[in-house]
């Protein structure tokens, strides 16, 4: 029954569109105003821009590889002459001597990231499915609210959020990290836009006629079709939770995150400049690597995320 339905995957759809271009399609024709010299100029301009973008990251990477005597020479040198991994080794030594065992910080971050991301993806896709393909009372109004919430600045809601957390008794618990992350507006927004544009109504209707329940439709038919969207959601949610440093709802040292601990190491300052740089590299590497692995999924999701007026 639903086997036939499942075969209309996203890849098939895209392939169909690629093969059946309109009669006027001249994709191989170069438009007359696109030239090689123009391409090279563009490339040079972009390269100049991108140098400004990467200099700080490059700097921190170089610093983390410098031995101590090179960090403080005058005039300062940008690139290390005798690159060494000593800073990273020292970083792990510092980690081993902290009061709360470092494995605890790592466990906290991993636990928060995994549970929070999982719950966020499930809750957001349930809601996005309703918003995209089901009817519901006051649906448009609620979606507009979510859209507006995309531009809220965290600080505006800081004080009332604290009052709510106190009221719920969630200060110094994992809930304070995890639960607000489940309700992040960007996740629902991206998911809903993706479903609306890439899940055909006919597929869902066919499944309903075949007697497929709503949860089965969502998790067996819709979710495989919107893989890019939830991969993107996992990445964004993970980036947010990974970056969660000192939350204002957590005071218990043993509940703080890896990011917070690393920042404590960095903030010691000059004495640990090399170790600090190594810690920074460690911190920024993880989200960058995660993005690089999944960038095609992210870009596909972004292609559908436009906002209608």
């Amino acid at each position: 029954m639903s086997e036939n339905v499942k075969k209309v995957s996203l890849a098939d759809k895209i392939k169909f569109h690629k093969e059946n271009k309109g009669p006027g399609h001249l994709s191989t024709m170069r438009l007359r105003n696109r030239t090689t010299s123009g391409y090279i100029t563009t490339l040079i301009v972009l390269l100049l821009f991108s140098i400004v973008m990467v200099i700080p990251m490059l700097y921190i990477l170089c610093n983390s590889l410098k031995p101590l005597n090179e960090l403080w020479i005058f005039p300062p040198r940008f690139f290390p002459h005798n690159p060494t991994f000593k800073n990273f080794r020292d970083l792990f030594e510092v980690m081993n001597t902290s009061t709360v065992p470092f494995s605890r910080y790592i466990f906290n971050t991993a636990f928060i990231s995994i549970v929070g991301t999982g719950a966020h993806v499930i809750a957001a896709s349930l809601c996005a499915y309703v918003f995209a393909r089901r009817r519901m009372w006051c649906k448009e109004g609620l979606f507009k609210t979510v859209q507006t919430a995309l531009m809220f600045v965290g600080g505006v809601t800081g004080i009332p959020s604290f009052i709510i957390m106190v009221g719920l008794g969630w200060i110094d618990t994992y809930y304070a990290y995890i639960i607000p992350a489940i309700g992040a507006p960007l996740g629902l927004y991206l998911m809903k836009q993706f479903m609306e544009q890439l899940v055909p109504v006919s597929v869902i209707e066919a499944a309903r006629i075949d007697g497929c329940g709503e949860f089965k439709i969502l998790f067996r038919i819709v979710m495989p079709m919107v893989k890019s969207a939830w991969v993107t959601l996992i990445i964004f949610s993970f980036q947010g939770l990974w970056g969660a440093g000192g939350s204002s709802f957590i005071y218990d040292e043993s509940l703080k995150t890896f990011n917070y601990a690393i920042q404590q190491i960095i903030s010691v300052g000059i004495v640990r400049a090399g170790i600090g740089a190594a810690a920074q590299v460690l911190l920024m590497m993880v989200p960058i690597i995660v993005f690089l692995i999944s960038q095609s999924n992210v870009m596909e999701t972004m292609a559908t995320s436009g906002m209608k007026e």
Binding site: R34, M53, Y59, P76, L126, W137, V153, P160, S161, I288
Partner: protein, 308 residues
């Protein structure tokens, strides 16, 4: 069969609140919606409520009418400084960063394959790598060890180091530059994806219709097609434009010299986090919130005019 029948019955009409279909929808969406409303909308309602009270976290709030707002606008010079700085920064970082992101995405669209992916990544990387913007304080450090000072002194442009993050005439431009530097977020990715998604047929048709140069192509074809992406990018840039305060504090310290980069966000944190005048802080938050909503309204009006 059940759903098919329901579709027919309610077609074209608003769905009744008591129908089974509505209740299933509510059931499916409630886990998300309850959490979303509790942590995104409820705080704003509470903030509006508290802004009409005196509240210090220890005693119960006491109602004092619009005193907070009156004090804010008439007695608080620092708030007005913050307001001025916030508006200057929001105008530079919001539209400035937005336009730079759009131009960069447009240029990236000319690239192909690997170069394109690499460029997208290079521009996106600063916004995901946490608080790396902190490194700018080293590059612009105030002694001759700083790279900017070192280079300027070597070429003889200056004779003694500039104290970049303590001198009010440099603080603002630097903060704006760094805020733009880390504003290439999901709005930027969205632009890159949007440019890529435009069918070439549109350009070919436009060429036949007499569009002769790239600028006409951009204004009459590309941007109108991109309008949904432009709107999304604008919404995302609003939040980055109004949250520059955190970056300023990290770079220049708090309070900054002569309050040169004092923003509403700093003012809010000062009263909420240090002085425990929560009612007053909530009034500041409400003003900021109204500014955000107003900007959103303005942007929607302006984007409707693109390509006309």
């Amino acid at each position: 069969m059940f759903f098919k029948r329901k579709e027919k019955v309610y077609k074209g009409r608003k769905i009744p609140f008591w129908s089974k279909e509505n209740w299933i929808s509510i059931g499916m969406s409630s886990p998300y919606l309850i959490i979303f409303l509790t942590f995104n909308i409820l705080p704003i309602i509470i903030a509006i409520g508290l802004s009409f009270t005196y509240f210090n976290m220890l005693q119960a709030p006491t109602f004092n009418g619009i005193t907070n707002y009156l004090n804010l606008l008439t007695n608080d010079d620092l708030f007005l400084t913050g307001l001025k700085n916030t508006i200057i920064m929001a105008v530079c970082v919001g539209p400035g960063g937005y336009i730079v992101a759009l131009i960069v995405a447009w240029l990236i669209n000319e690239m192909k394959g690997f170069v394109r992916t690499l460029m997208t990544f290079l521009f996106y990387a600063p916004s995901i790598s946490g608080n790396v913007y902190f490194i700018w304080t080293v590059l612009f450090s105030s002694d001759s060890m700083g790279y900017a000072n070192g280079i300027l002194m070597n070429i003889g442009a200056i004779t003694e180091p500039i104290r970049f993050f303590q001198n009010p005439s440099y603080m603002m431009p630097l903060c704006i530059f760094i805020a733009i530097w880390c504003s290439f977020g999901s709005g930027f990715l969205n632009f890159v994806a949007g440019f890529k998604g435009i069918d070439r047929q549109y350009y070919e048709a436009a060429m036949v219709d007499g569009v002769t140069n790239r600028w006409q192509e951009l204004w009459y074809i590309t941007l109108p097609i991109m309008r949904p992406q432009l709107l999304f990018g604008a919404v995302m840039s609003i939040s980055s434009a109004f949250s520059v305060g955190g970056i300023c504090t990290a770079l220049c310290g708090f309070p900054s010299t002569q309050y040169a980069v004092h923003t509403i966000m700093n003012h809010l944190e000062d009263f909420g986090g240090a002085r425990y005048e929560m009612g007053y802080a909530c009034a500041i938050a409400v003003v900021l919130f109204l500014m955000i909503i107003g900007t959103n309204f303005l942007i929607r009006k302006m984007l409707a005019k693109v390509g006309e």
